[in-house]
């Protein structure tokens, strides 16, 4: 029965790959419950290799014995978590609004600025991705200092918007390009204004692409470390910066770092499980068949 054999081979390969893919996540989650010795000895399997302890969750005030008590680490953790949410959602909304408008313009109207035409403008936006963020470190530090944006939520949202904007424009321009211009023209003839045609016809059709662009930019902002470390300190610090700061003078507190990392990857796992198909749908299928 070569068919059955075929199946077995395919499933074996898939299972092996699943284990490879899921292992880092498993390791992060399980390390939350390990003491230093278990980490150093490379114990892997809970209850067999090591006895799970509440160490990690206690460090951020979320273990059963600390959860109902006053806890400074927990307050700190929740503050950072909330900062990350604000920064990534805020920046993504802003980038989506600005990026969609820019992409729609680039897709539908002909611009000319000196020798620059639409293609050049599009490339200019996309080329921002090539620039290593490190190059921007000093200028932004100086700029933010002058504008009093250092360590502020607004400052962080603005720089995140800037950094995901090229991707949003790219995705959305692609989306708008697949929508035939005749659709807007039909809407104009049917009685819409230009804005009416955009909001009533084009936006609903481009929605899958917008959802994909939004999710993608949330993920990118959520993972961002460099600018957060550079431009924020006590007030606007985000979760990734807090994770990195767990390397104290007494060595690394693995359990609390793992607990924070788990909290940081949890939203991404949820996105991965429930929203991944929207990303795929938005990025692969043309909007009009």
């Amino acid at each position: 029965m070569p068919r059955t054999l075929n199946r077995i081979l395919i499933y074996t390969a898939l299972i092996v790959w699943t284990i490879i893919a899921l292992f880092p996540i498993f390791w992060t989650f399980s390390t939350t419950f390990k003491v230093a010795k278990d980490v150093q000895l490379g114990h892997i399997i809970p209850w067999v290799d090591f006895k799970p302890a509440w160490l990690g969750l206690r460090a951020i005030g979320l273990s059963p014995d600390t959860i109902f008590t006053e806890s400074t680490p927990r307050t700190e953790f929740i503050k950072r978590f909330w900062n990350s949410i604000q920064a990534s959602i805020g920046a993504s909304i802003l980038a989506l609004i600005l990026g969609s408008a820019a992409a729609y313009g680039l897709s539908r109207f002909q611009y000319k600025w000196k020798i620059w035409k639409n293609r050049d403008i599009s490339f200019f936006f996309l080329s921002q991705l090539i620039l290593p963020p490190v190059v921007l470190a000093m200028p932004f530090l100086v700029l933010y200092k002058e504008l009093a944006l250092l360590d502020s939520m607004i400052g962080l949202i603005l720089i995140y918007t800037l950094s995901v904007l090229p991707i949003v424009i790219w995705i959305m321009k692609d989306q708008f390009d697949t929508i035939p211009q005749e659709l807007e023209q039909a809407a104009l003839v049917d009685g819409c204004s230009i804005w009416g045609a955009f909001f009533r016809i084009i936006l609903p059709i481009a929605m899958p692409g917008m959802v994909a662009a939004f999710i993608l930019s949330v993920i990118l902002c959520w993972n961002e470390y460099f600018f957060a470390a550079l431009l924020t300190s006590s007030y606007a610090k985000t979760l990734p910066v807090m994770v990195a700061s767990q390397t104290g003078s007494q060595g690394i507190s693995w359990w609390s770092m793992a607990a924070l990392s788990s909290a940081a990857i949890l939203p991404l796992i949820i996105i991965g499980i429930f929203l991944e198909r929207y990303i795929v749908k938005g990025l692969t299928t043309g909007s009009v068949k």
Binding site: Q185, A186, V189, D190, S193, G196, P204, I205, S287, K289
Partner: protein, 353 residues
């Protein structure tokens, strides 16, 4: 319903002019076809009537209003696009009712009018479907439905049938014509297919490279093409044409470069010796007579026989009601109906006489 008047309209893209001063009067209730080869500016002209393109110079009037500066939504026109341009996220009923909804028409009235249009177009079973669930022909009908529910002043069609297969095209052609007879709405219909134009229109405007070559009823254009372009464009298969000289000496005739003599009924005054083009339609040739041509292909369709042959170094096509038993390579004799020969000036291409 309203008349449409296109008055010396020009259109430039950048410094390139693509419509060079076109004037077309269209009266109330008329069905006018704009026909011409691809790229001649038909769509551009139609889109200027719709308000989707700026008018570089000249005026367009709908009813008694100059509409140059009006946006499409204020022109009270409906347009059917080549790719139908149905809204993919709206159902058939929503597509058809969208314009009425924008005009804040009461819901019950929208439903009534959509239903009525759907009945006319046989779309009732599909009202709740989405465009992607329809066949090409059905989508085409929805696009028409979207136009007719509004009862606009003018219908504009831009090659609405060219995405359909041949059989459906013929069927829809008849349906659109019937619809026009029923609604009597002024219609401007763009097509590159002269058969479509001939069969549907009250009047045809032949466009070529951004100018009007000729305007007239289908039979006018067929019987008296104003120039070589129209002569070659209207009629299928196309008119046979030979270059040569008009001769009045002896029996009036037309002499091609290689000395072949083509018969003429008479030479119009002052044209003896004029370099000209001799035109005869394939269906105006009959079997037997003085022209001897060598057959290259025979295409019987049952009802008629199309013979492709060579005469005076040129291709000549004849369409005969009789069955033809000649084989390729053999000679065939044919003769033109002298009353139906066309002469054109060789230099200007204009009709002579």
């Amino acid at each position: 319903m309203a008349s449409v008047e296109i008055i010396d309209v020009r259109k430039s893209y950048g410094d390139q002019e693509v419509i060079h001063g076109v004037s077309i009067p269209i009266s109330n209730g008329e069905f006018v076809a704009l026909v011409g080869p691809s790229g001649c500016g038909k769509s551009t002209l139609l889109r200027m009537i719709a308000g989707l393109e700026d008018i570089t110079a000249g005026n367009i009037r709908i009813g008694d209003k100059v509409v140059n500066a009006l946006p499409p939504k204020d022109r009270d026109i409906a347009m059917v696009f080549q790719n139908y341009a149905l809204y993919p996220h709206k159902t058939v009923a929503e597509n058809m009712g969208f314009a009425l909804k924008l005009r804040k028409t009461p819901k019950a009235e929208i439903e009534g009018r959509v239903k009525k249009a759907a009945e006319i177009l046989d779309l009732v079973p599909y009202l709740n479907r989405y465009p992607r669930q329809l066949s090409g022909g059905q989508r085409q009908r929805v696009a028409m439905g979207r136009a007719i529910v509004r009862a606009p002043q003018v219908f504009l069609f831009d090659e609405p049938l060219s995405n359909l297969d041949a059989k459906l095209r013929v069927q829809m052609r008849a349906e659109i014509k019937e619809l026009h007879q029923r609604l009597k709405t002024t219609t401007v219909y763009v097509t590159h297919d002269q058969v479509e134009a001939m069969t549907m229109a009250d009047r045809i405007v032949v466009l070529h490279d951004g100018i009007v070559e000729q305007m007239g009823s289908p039979l006018d254009l067929y019987d008296r093409p104003a120039n070589l372009f129209v002569a070659g464009f209207i009629g299928s298969p196309a008119m046979n044409m030979f270059k040569g000289t008009i001769r009045a000496t002896g029996a009036p005739h037309f002499e091609t470069a290689d000395g072949t003599r083509l018969p003429l009924a008479a030479v119009p005054p002052g044209l003896d010796g004029r370099a000209a083009v001799y035109g005869i339609r394939p269906e105006h040739l009959s079997l037997g007579g003085e022209l001897k041509a060598q057959v290259t292909v025979i295409e019987p369709t049952g009802a008629e026989t199309q013979v492709i042959a060579r005469l005076a170094g040129e291709k000549i096509i004849g369409v005969f009601r009789e069955r033809v038993s000649v084989k390729p390579g053999e000679m065939i004799a044919m003769s033109p109906d002298l009353k139906l020969v066309h002469l054109f000036d060789a230099k200007t291409g204009l009709r002579l006489g």
